[in-house]
């Protein structure tokens, strides 16, 4: 189908431990677009990103998510990843004992296998990684270390983007990729993301701050409030939020109720 959206979320409701967290999320993302979700702490942004990637802790109680024409919610997390969904985690895990390089290769080759492409041996893979390291200006010394173990906050974030650069997702979800980054790193990571933009992929940025959006210009900005997207606009909405904060939502919410 031509012009089919990459992602289409309708009335998505989600519980954690029987507590409703997402209360009817609607969102549509088309190829080539960049969307940003902003919103208060605890409003459900990370929950939304983890539901999209299939975290087993979250229980979908209603609604639907269609990814490239298929029901995403019935797929296993790895099937979603192989189909091109990538989440750069807000808090990337440290996994001692798993070498970063080995992990990257296993992940890369899993995708090659899925796409019926030739898998790379350790040698060829290192060449590829060297190339991708440049995108996030990361030192190759990080490859020999255990996955994220002892990495600084910013180093973990760069490592997430490195993984994204290798896996070339169709939908990249970046959960607060800007948190913990110094000024230069923010620019480098943002430029990295911009380099990965293509007409047939899309990005969903979760952020609290305009400064990320100064580098990566969003086509749409959404505000999540108490488990719903309550407002959407263009890039100017982010500037407005930066000025006004979120208090006005409270007032409107009171009116609505």
């Amino acid at each position: 189908m031509m012009n089919q959206p990459i992602l289409s979320v309708r009335n998505l409701t989600v519980n954690v431990d029987n507590t409703p967290i997402l209360k009817g999320v609607n969102l549509e993302i088309n190829a080539g677009e960049i969307h940003a979700i902003m919103g208060r702490n605890g409003s459900g942004k990370s929950t939304f990103s983890k539901v999209l990637t299939g975290h087993p802790e979250y229980e979908v109680t209603g609604g639907e998510v269609i990814y490239k024409g298929e029901n995403l919610l019935e797929k296993e997390p790895e099937e979603r990843a192989l189909a091109g969904i990538f989440l750069a985690f807000q808090y990337p895990l440290e996994i001692p004992g798993v070498s970063n390089l080995d992990f990257l290769r296993v992940a890369y080759n899993a995708r090659c296998k899925y796409l019926k492409l030739e898998e790379l041996d350790a040698f060829d893979f290192e060449d590829l990684v060297e190339e991708k390291l440049d995108i996030v200006k990361m030192d190759s010394a990080f490859l020999a270390r255990s996955l994220n173990e002892g990495f600084s906050g910013g180093e973990k974030k760069r490592n997430e983007i490195l993984q994204m650069a290798l896996l070339e997702p169709t939908l990249g979800i970046l959960d607060e990729i800007d948190s913990g980054l110094d000024i230069d790193a923010l620019r480098i990571v943002s430029e990295g993301v911009n380099k990965l933009r293509k007409p047939d992929n899309a990005f969903l940025l979760i952020t609290h701050y305009q400064r990320l959006l100064d580098y990566i210009t969003p086509d749409f900005v959404h505000v999540m409030y108490q488990g719903k997207i309550v407002m959407s606009g263009d890039k100017d909405l982010a500037l407005e939020l930066e000025k006004k904060g979120y208090d006005f939502l409270e007032e409107e919410n009171l009116v609505a109720n």
Partner: protein
């Protein structure tokens, strides 16, 4: 064949060793005989431990006592049996015993021609060292350990590494004990003696395996019993790096005692990896004899099926400024049972001791069991001692992280398991062995 009776079981085992021939020159023969007699006198006073003995509470020997053991015979093997055992790093520094007997045709110590090093069997030991052997062989042996006493009562030969003062050998020394199975339940008693004189430095691999075709985990043949004793002496400022691999067949009872005597300022490191066997019990004892000793005890025990694995370690300090780092890990699947007991005695005399002990366990099935007991006995007041034990399943969040990158659940679980094991395996300084062990871990976790 008559059944061995439980109340005289240890004596019956002892009897098996009574008629062994000793191939020693007269000086050595009289020394060894003295040890044999003294130890035999201990054995007759001891029973095989039962669950009433505190140190064997969770470690059941009743299956062992159902067997009618006979001593394994001297067997000549063709060198092709070594195929799976030769280590690249030690291809010309290897000493091989088969069924407890020195196998000259399988051994190759051509890389160790230094006159300051003796690597060979006890029978061939040079005259000047024989004079000193009584200071080292069967030293301070506890009177209450029936298996240790049995081994000493049955000494016929031993692996010996003896490094003279101020000598450093970089070449790893590979001590390989193989069991070639008989058509009866056979019993071997390997013995190792390592002497590192003052300011010397050496590293060795102690490896136990069985001659078998294919992966040796499956129980195909008669049971066998390996009752090993290893004594390691580190004089002042000596340094030893010890790797101990238990990769016996699935039909093996492996019981072992390792003692390291550490003089002033000596450094002893052991990396113990236990992958095989039906039953494994290792008593690891460190006796500090001087100040400022450093001791690193690392261990990995993998259990599956109905395997039983038990490491009892004991560090006895008597002098100040000792440092001990201990990390022992278990990975237990199916109905495997693990036991870890880590004693550290820090009496008043051992001020300024710095000890950490950690036992981490990964249980992969609901039937897997671990009994863990750190035992720090501290009466000194100015010491740093920390200990802990963790028991975990694989972390759901870690599995999810890996799956979100496209690994299936199965691969994700095994990557994490390998990583858990790698923390210990990576401490082993031999690439080829590390590689082989990693493969073993992966293969065994893929069932």
């Amino acid at each position: 064949m008559t059944m061995l009776k439980s109340d005289t079981y240890s004596q019956d085992l002892l009897q098996l060793t009574e008629n062994q021939t000793l191939d020693f020159n007269s000086n050595l023969a009289s020394l060894v005989k003295e040890i044999r007699v003294k130890s035999a006198n201990n054995v007759v006073k001891l029973n095989i431990p039962s669950d009433k003995d505190e140190d064997w509470r969770f470690t059941d020997l009743s299956d062992l006592q159902k067997q009618n053991w006979c001593l394994a015979n001297k067997t000549d093997l063709n060198s092709f049996v070594l195929d799976g055992f030769i280590l690249e790093e030690a291809s010309h520094s290897r000493l091989v015993f088969v069924n407890g007997f020195y196998a000259a045709n399988l051994s190759d110590i051509s890389a160790l021609s230094d006159e300051n090093i003796y690597v060979g069997n006890l029978s061939n030991l040079d005259e000047d060292k024989i004079g000193k052997i009584s200071e080292y062989l069967s030293k301070n042996e506890p009177k209450n350990e029936v298996f240790t006493a049995l081994n000493s009562a049955g000494i016929t030969d031993a692996f010996v590494i003896w490094v003279k003062a101020n000598t450093k050998i970089v070449t790893p020394i590979h001590l390989l004990h193989l069991t070639a199975r008989e058509n009866f339940s056979c019993f071997t008693q390997p013995r190792i003696l390592v002497v590192a004189e003052a300011h010397s430095n050496l590293n060795f691999i102690e490896y136990y395996g069985a001659v078998a075709s294919g992966c040796s985990d499956s129980v195909k043949q008669n049971y066998y019993l390996t009752n090993a004793v290893t004594e390691i002496h580190l004089q002042d400022n000596a340094e030893i790096h010890h790797t101990r691999i238990q990769r016996e067949s699935g039909d093996c009872f492996h019981i072992a005692k390792t003692t390291a005597f550490q003089d002033k300022n000596s450094h002893y490191t052991i990396n113990e990896v236990s992958l095989g066997g039906k039953f494994y019990r290792h008593n690891l004892h460190i006796q500090q004899q001087g100040e400022e000793t450093q001791t690193n005890l690392n261990g990995l025990t993998m259990l599956q099926g109905k395997q039983m694995g038990d490491t009892h370690s004991e560090v006895s300090l008597t002098k100040p400024h000792g440092t001990i780092n201990q990390l022992h890990k278990f990975i237990i699947d199916d109905s495997g049972r693990g036991v870890f007991n880590g004693k550290i005695h820090v009496p008043k005399l051992a001020q300024l001791t710095n000890a950490t002990q950690l036992n981490r366990n990964l249980l992969l099935s609901s039937k897997a069991r671990i009994n863990t007991k750190p035992e720090l006995q501290i009466t000194a007041d100015n010491v740093k001692c920390a200990h802990g034990a963790t028991i975990s399943q694989l972390e759901a969040d870690e599995i999810f992280y890996l799956r979100s990158r496209g690994l299936n659940e199965y691969d994700a679980r095994h990557l994490l398991m390998d990583a858990f094991a790698a923390e210990i395996i990576d401490k082993i300084p031999y690439e080829s062995l590390k590689h082989r062990l990693t493969q073993c871990v992966t293969c065994r976790t893929l069932e």
